[in-house]
Amino acid sequence: MAAELINPPPSVPPALALRMSQQAPRILQQSSGPSLPYPLSLLTASEAPETWIGYENLMLACLRTGDDRSARICLEKLTQRFGEDNERVMALRGMYHEAVAEDYKALESIFRGYEEVLKKDPTNMPIRKRRVALLKAMNRPIDATTALVGLLDASPTDAEAWAELADLYLTQNLYAQAIFSLEEVLLITPNAWNIHARMGEILYLSSLATNSNNDGNLMRGLCESMRRFCRSIELCDNYLRGYYGLKLVRPLAHFHSPQQPLSTNTSTNNPLKQTTKHLLSLLSKTSKPAPAAADPQFGDLAPPSLATIERLHELATAKLAEIVRRNAAGESGWDGYDQAEVIAAGELLGRDAQKIER
């Protein structure tokens, strides 16, 4: 079985999913030869875990590309091997039915099926997760949140569920709750660099969305976001996402640093500058709190000094430029970046350069 089936890359793009599902007939034919009676079949059957992971991923790829027949065969193979009552197989079967369901009514009957299963065995985690996913697919995010909170009450160390909860809150624009959920994820997996970066992104979004008229909060949120991006860079070398965030946060954190003099920036033609100008006017209206070593009320760290912010910004710019350059040159060890991300980084750098020219 191909490597991509056993270990599919994150967020499989459609083209790769198509290629994976196109292998289905070959793989299924290969393995559907006449099987020997029980004791002999143990000798011939390949019992590597990779085989079954491969079937599972093949089934997901087939469901995605609409090859329901092959998905059905994969599901039957898994059922044959692990039995009807295996929790993971039950969840996969539920997923298959969800995928082929015609309308909302069919989905509702699947939902009732999940409820039945859970009434018999409330500890069936895969089915509980499917139930949340189904509620989300049925456009009932509030019910999904309630169900997920119930699941987390029962199993508070499930990082995957916490991450899903953060996403659910985010779709409902509940930033504070999303940040709390991500903090829980980080308590369980403190070295997850992608979650640190995600945290930075959400903090950035939330401070822009909710604190536009409270400078103290805005600054605190941006500084916190900056720290998260720094941590993600610390945990992962040449992490494009982290450097991008760091560079993105800077202009705002910069203008909200207490040491920043209010004399720069007079042009009005650039929309970005207009926002910063707007923020500047806000800043001059409100009285700034004196920078303390730690905020006594929240126990937060003091915002970093302007020099630190500037140096971080320089570092991010240099690193982004290096990534863009070496990726374009196709150097080995630098060619694994997502092209869209590299283009976005190049654009961010270009925007910055333009500003300096003016």
Partner: protein, 139 residues
């Protein structure tokens, strides 16, 4: 490299077997003729060529094993993470490694936190794929 390590291993094992056999024959010969060996104690000692053969064979096998071992992973977390990210990106673009050794763990262990296969929304994925096909299936 794989061929070299295999050849070194084969030669080393062959030499080792030969050295062991020679040593055994040597001791058997002297045990059969105790009178000859008792006169000169140095004759009972192992000849130099057998000793050298043993040492050389062990060295060969060591070198073969070291050369044949898979590439080392960085022991610094950040370096390792950077490598993992690159590898995944290459896989996503469809130019990853073709062969996968058994038991080899590749990939970012934290990507499940963003993928969340347990909560996969199949219908949305199906729709996304259908849209992609409708748009001409590129990108």
């Amino acid at each position: 490299m794989a061929l070299l390590s295999k050849a070194l291993n084969a030669i080393g094992l062959l030499l080792l077997a030969h050295a062991v056999y020679s040593a055994h024959e040597h001791s058997a010969l002297h045990a059969a003729a105790p009178s000859a060996s008792s006169q000169t104690p140095s004759a009972a000692a192992l000849p130099l060529d057998i000793t050298l053969e043993t040492l050389a064979s062990v060295l060969f096998v060591c070198a073969g094993l070291v050369l044949g071992s898979p590439a080392l992973r960085p022991i610094q977390w950040s370096e390792w993470a950077g490598e993992v990210e690159q590898e995944e990106g290459r896989n996503r673009q469809g130019r990853g490694k073709v062969g996968m050794k058994e038991g080899e763990v590749v990939g970012n262990p934290f990507r499940v936190l963003e993928e969340r296969p347990g909560f996969l929304d199949v219908r949305a994925k199906r729709k996304e794929f259908a849209d992609w096909v409708r748009e001409g299936g590129s990108g």
